[in-house]
Symmetry: D2
Subunit: 367 residues, 4 copies
Amino acid sequence: MSGNTIGTSFCVTSFGESHGPAIGCVVDGCPPGLALTAEDIQIDLDRRKPGTSRHVTQRRESDTVEILSGVFDGRTTGTPIALLIRNEDQRSKDYSEIAQTFRPGHADYTYWQKYGIRDYKGGGRSSARETAVRVAAGAIAKKWLHERYGTVIRGYLAQLGPIVVPFQSWEAVADNAFFAPNAGIVAELEAYMDALRREGNSVGARINVVAEKVPVGLGEPVYDRLDADLAHALMSINAVKGVEIGDGFASVAQKGTEHRDELTPQGFLSNHAGGILGGISTGQDILASIAIKPTSSIRLPGRSINLAGEPVEVVTHGRHDPCVGIRATPIAEAMLAIVLMDHVLRHRGQNADVRCPTPPIPGQAPR
Amino acid sequence: MSGNTIGTSFCVTSFGESHGPAIGCVVDGCPPGLALTAEDIQIDLDRRKPGTSRHVTQRRESDTVEILSGVFDGRTTGTPIALLIRNEDQRSKDYSEIAQTFRPGHADYTYWQKYGIRDYKGGGRSSARETAVRVAAGAIAKKWLHERYGTVIRGYLAQLGPIVVPFQSWEAVADNAFFAPNAGIVAELEAYMDALRREGNSVGARINVVAEKVPVGLGEPVYDRLDADLAHALMSINAVKGVEIGDGFASVAQKGTEHRDELTPQGFLSNHAGGILGGISTGQDILASIAIKPTSSIRLPGRSINLAGEPVEVVTHGRHDPCVGIRATPIAEAMLAIVLMDHVLRHRGQNADVRCPTPPIPGQAPR
Amino acid sequence: MSGNTIGTSFCVTSFGESHGPAIGCVVDGCPPGLALTAEDIQIDLDRRKPGTSRHVTQRRESDTVEILSGVFDGRTTGTPIALLIRNEDQRSKDYSEIAQTFRPGHADYTYWQKYGIRDYKGGGRSSARETAVRVAAGAIAKKWLHERYGTVIRGYLAQLGPIVVPFQSWEAVADNAFFAPNAGIVAELEAYMDALRREGNSVGARINVVAEKVPVGLGEPVYDRLDADLAHALMSINAVKGVEIGDGFASVAQKGTEHRDELTPQGFLSNHAGGILGGISTGQDILASIAIKPTSSIRLPGRSINLAGEPVEVVTHGRHDPCVGIRATPIAEAMLAIVLMDHVLRHRGQNADVRCPTPPIPGQAPR
Amino acid sequence: MSGNTIGTSFCVTSFGESHGPAIGCVVDGCPPGLALTAEDIQIDLDRRKPGTSRHVTQRRESDTVEILSGVFDGRTTGTPIALLIRNEDQRSKDYSEIAQTFRPGHADYTYWQKYGIRDYKGGGRSSARETAVRVAAGAIAKKWLHERYGTVIRGYLAQLGPIVVPFQSWEAVADNAFFAPNAGIVAELEAYMDALRREGNSVGARINVVAEKVPVGLGEPVYDRLDADLAHALMSINAVKGVEIGDGFASVAQKGTEHRDELTPQGFLSNHAGGILGGISTGQDILASIAIKPTSSIRLPGRSINLAGEPVEVVTHGRHDPCVGIRATPIAEAMLAIVLMDHVLRHRGQNADVRCPTPPIPGQAPR
């Protein structure tokens, strides 16, 4: 319970620091029989990786993933799948100032208080670089859910700083660097980001994620509800400060007649609940939304203290995302996929679908 | 991992249905030596219990708690503390209609889909009655945190339907039936609720919770962050649809210069982060906010289907809260206390403070 | 992870002290639909309860179990089943001497060192009285396994002190107070126990347990093997000092040609492995054996120290079992049942068998 | 809970197959500040690695370990430590026969039944090769326990097939290929193994492990006792069929006067309990013993079936250990170390000892 594992039946154990030799994870609990190659995982890694546009960090990482175990003749075997991503661009620089200073808004201060020691190079373990691991593990969950249930998990940028992005189409999402579901707004987003970058400041964002074709009955009452586990997984993403399911905070001002989703023999008439009732999936789309804070790594000076407790002024140099929300869409999708897959396996068992191809030995007990 | 336990070091395992013989829990992991009586727990139970004003359900439950184990000569021993609350007012009525129908917005449909069987009396396990157990367990955590660290955990109603409640003072909270931190607004809240009750409708609410004097260093990276575990615990409360830490969704439109909390030798200059950086407590106040949906148990008719899949019209009779948010403040406080205590014990160990009163046997290994 | 819960999918959380108000447990994860009454559980409790012969403790406890939750209209619902057993015979006596002294061979010293406080009445939490809870929870597992797979779980006394008990028949087991599978040896066992009681001493025992008609494929590699989890569960029983699976320690002197169980199209030709290969059940009978130490509660004086560290002589008065192994058979059966059921649910899921009686809403995602 | 993680506070998650690209693990929960290099781990890996004498498998693996994360400037940081060992000698051969056949005594049959697919090359995940990972993780635990408490963990071969090895000295253990604590018996062991190898057969072994200078108070009642967790960890080692704590099965024939360990102000007078009372460490030496079965990979033919259910004769070729017990001593030591460290952290917390070097910010809550 050391905090680097998520899931109880589909378990992802993450490791690695931003400027260490490698990052990676062990995915334990994937059912046997899934066709899986490194390419299946690379697709999502490439959607998240740095350096893909001028609006994100210019760190150069190919984020090439290697599958170390758990796959045999192209198929998963039910044993742990270890994924390894070597760090490539740990730029050599002078870290002595960072080593002595707590950057405001960063985890520098809390890691040092908690552990009495910290890897100050690039944020170490608290770096958003760790999220590559989530995307890699999530790609496995996405593929399994899609093959088994036809589940489709997608996300998009719903707001960038002050700019609300109206949903137009899923097709638009892949056509711009922002995961914006609206081609017409891209120019405005680009202009805003260019100005922000010149200013040396950062800004927040809102990401929405949706899962379609979700099995009904997922989620364990009372504490391990599907929505509670989703809130945990999404809030565990770096920089997330809020999570909503369905109508979220809009529910506060709603009346019962408005919020409750009526049923007919043809199905539900609305989805204010976001596909979850009593903590259990209804079979409707799962709808979740997250708030991402503006990153604290900015060029504008801020007040802080150093290890000696003296006041200092901090300016963050280096290669940073002025809006970490821009690359957050694949990460939020991954966390949604991981939670859904975990709950499918809790509900149905890891091997509930296994049917051995030949008859068992006579006299053996039935499966 | 069947979902009815929360916590990894301070573990609360809940049981009981709304109209069964009893509800209760086992609290495992409370350190030894805490002075504890049933009265300590009853205080918070009485704040949550039904029937305390005309604005909440009129079900009559004394919610009297019995400590069955784990306390010896008035002090906790480190062994599990079992708490029992007998149900007293399971009104006898005809449940045949509810048994055949899925009430819209309720967990009737999902429980039935998940389990193929459901306790339809009063919602069974999905009833908000289960939250009494959380409050009881939370009272232990509150007391321990207060005695050990001076931690104070409090909450209040921040919004009721359309009415935003400006924070005025903590003193005001105990003086009204709404946990409103503002004496001047109580008449408006009462009038709103009276009208709502006459209308037969329900409404949502927002609750804020605050923990003061929190130890620094709580929270495990990367997944079991303090904020992620808080999001899990708060989202696991019945009817919660959104969770915010610190500035929450307001962070979306903020810039980095605004959001990051600067430090000086005298302390932090602001608390946009809500007391958590990189998933670890900073020692500042923990700030969280939740959105509670309007309950679906209303007198106004709604469309649904029955077990045969035929369309029906559902009207909920019986004793229900027109705003479950009104009684939610002690519940949210309890979940915050449980999560904080769990993380203290993860960080420091359950017996890190135990110092035996006499010297160990010579030759024994040191503790 | 406070140590009072066993299982990951079928979770038993135990509470209660020997001389407190009650003992009990919460059984979380039992699949829905199992017909269950208190009588089903009472059968096994009565097999273990004290006072049933002159060879066991004369404490008078009816061990009457109450089901507090999780059962509706006579069937389990999938929600937690809370079981309560009130203590009835907490004989009032002077505990001041025990409170000041560490009885040799007991947990007095270790509890005090660990917690700095201990419930010294009747051993508190370390008392064998806690095993009633295991038997109650195990009765549910036994019933479910039997109904679902026809699994039969039985145990017997294989050795009492120096007396080896040759297995004759399962029928004999129920016909004597020792769970001896051999009617002809009962007189010898009785004579031995009578002499032992007069002497004021105690003795050890060996219990064998067997599960027949076990599903193949149970057990998770690498750490949570079925045999490893069985060893954990059996070694967790009070006074157990050794666990064997299959041939156990006899394997040390065996050769590969002797130990390996050959297969034919008609099945395995032997069962040296005890029904487990690579940590996974083969479908053969599961065979396990445990060593139970002689209880340390004896009338013969022993040297110890008191809280002040001074030497004292300890004589244990009161009502104790001269051979705790005599009542251990139902306990070992229960632990075997709990582990098997846990692994069935890990393998197949808690609700893998649920088939809803009517078609889901059109357009809903498949289960 | 997919079974490839052991520990709750000191968690080892293992991955890798015998003939895949690599094996390794993630060690999560190691406290910050431990000086750690790959060489510290390599020492124990070299004690276990194949090819070190003619009595073990001739597979050529350097078992070179790489630390991928969690260590900064030569010290652990409290974040996950990932360890990687590349497989080097996956001899290319024809596996078609093994792919179609279930070798008797192996996990071939159970893996195939469980997963419906198996990695048949060298046993895949069920291979004893996985134990290298345990030794690597255990080396970290050993070092930490030794630095923090002076704990020394050692093991030795107590019996090889029919040959009982009398304990003579710890010094002898390192001087022979068998980990035998007795120089005088080595010639007999060598002669026995040479004859066995010529015969093409295999044999079992008994290994004893001892931990000295163990903190008192480790172990959680009731289920997660130190002895129960030790039994789990030791039984999880490939080929182990029995576990004893202290006197183990000899306790069966003992009387209470013999078994109970008396106390004096100078300490315990004996250690029949093996250093654990009521599931909690006494501070005495921890004593455990395991039975290892003869490996089933032998050159002598055995009956089995193939995938089609037809009878076949199986002869195992390739490079195998005729007695897997010979290399098991470091593995048993590692598991003992892992369990002890896990329980220290459960008892005291992962960061209970962290003391930050400079004063916290004024006004911050105390740690």
